[in-house]
Symmetry: C2
Subunit: 187 residues, 2 copies
């Protein structure tokens, strides 16, 4: 007779809380987002310790392993730098031909997707929306709401993160607060 072992990792589908042994936590403040916003003067005038987002991840296998998967949840704060909403750094996968799923848990925002030819697609993310991010596609999340935007993610363990291309070249569009809601402004 075998025993039934309790699950050790919790993922709350309602709040998005991911916790348990091996779950890593990373915190990003505005000081980690130098050069990300158009109005760098506005960013640098704000408290650099302002929380921008945190990420909890479960990496059950080493980074780079083929055939494995990682799981995570991101908690993106609401806020503005000038007229631009708080957002994640954004990245391509280092292994370009690897995909990712995102799903909205709480809050509202815009998922910016950018192909290698810099073509932009902006998808609304909300509680209960599911998003497939194909390979060769940079992805950045933007919180356009007044509350924390929480979303889940699952991606291959050999995807890797190429933040450098986005740091150097940026995205081809920005999401700004307009008079009637968020605007995706290209260029």
């Amino acid at each position: 007779m075998s025993t039934i072992v309790p699950a050790t990792i919790d993922f709350d589908g309602v709040t998005g809380l991911l916790k348990g042994p091996g779950v890593l936590q990373q915190f990003r403040t505005l000081s980690d987002l130098v050069g990300v916003f158009e109005d760098e003067a506005a960013r640098s005038s704000m408290d650099p310790a302002t929380p921008a987002y945190s990420v909890r991840t479960l990496l059950p296998v080493p980074e780079g392993k083929e055939g494995g998967l990682f799981f995570g949840c991101t908690y993106l704060q609401p806020g503005l730098v000038g007229d631009e909403y708080f957002m994640t750094k954004g990245h391509f996968h280092s292994n370009r031909d690897t995909a990712e799923f995102y799903w909205g848990i709480e809050g509202e925002g815009v998922l910016l997707l950018m192909a290698e030819d810099r073509t932009i697609r902006a998808e609304q993310i909300r509680k209960g929306s599911l998003h497939y991010i194909p390979g060769w596609t940079a992805h950045r999340m933007v919180n356009t709401g007044d509350t924390v935007l929480t979303f889940g993610a699952c991606w291959p363990s050999d995807a890797g993160h190429d933040y450098e291309t986005i740091r150097r070249e940026g995205f081809a569009a920005r999401v700004k607060k307009g008079p009637d809601g968020p605007l995706v402004v290209e260029g």
Copy 2:
């Protein structure tokens, strides 16, 4: 200026309902589970149209594509065949070295994991539990509760399903209703 396109796929983290364009639905009845339960006479005496489980899947890329991902949700009915709980067929991945995540959304059950050497691990699954299924590991879900067991899943698009090995060799353990709850009985 780009438009913000609404998300087209819904995944409800509370109920597990997955729907939208391209979401496939598969239904399994007891007639699809010939040879799965120890007491085949008990199974064959039951209405073959009895629903056992259904699966909703989103396959954004062709099966077999490397680097892509699939997403799904399974709704496993409660019930007994003899003293054995309703369960899924169970499978290895055809591409053995590919992993999968499962997470519990509603109900309660046991995730049976079996290595290639037939070593068994039985994990309790419940609302809010997250499970990593490593490569080389057959997986079968068992509903030990009185309500539908709903769980989400994400797996690589080149994983494939090897049901045949399990059909031929079975799992090395069965989950049965005991006097004080579920028992994992080996052999």
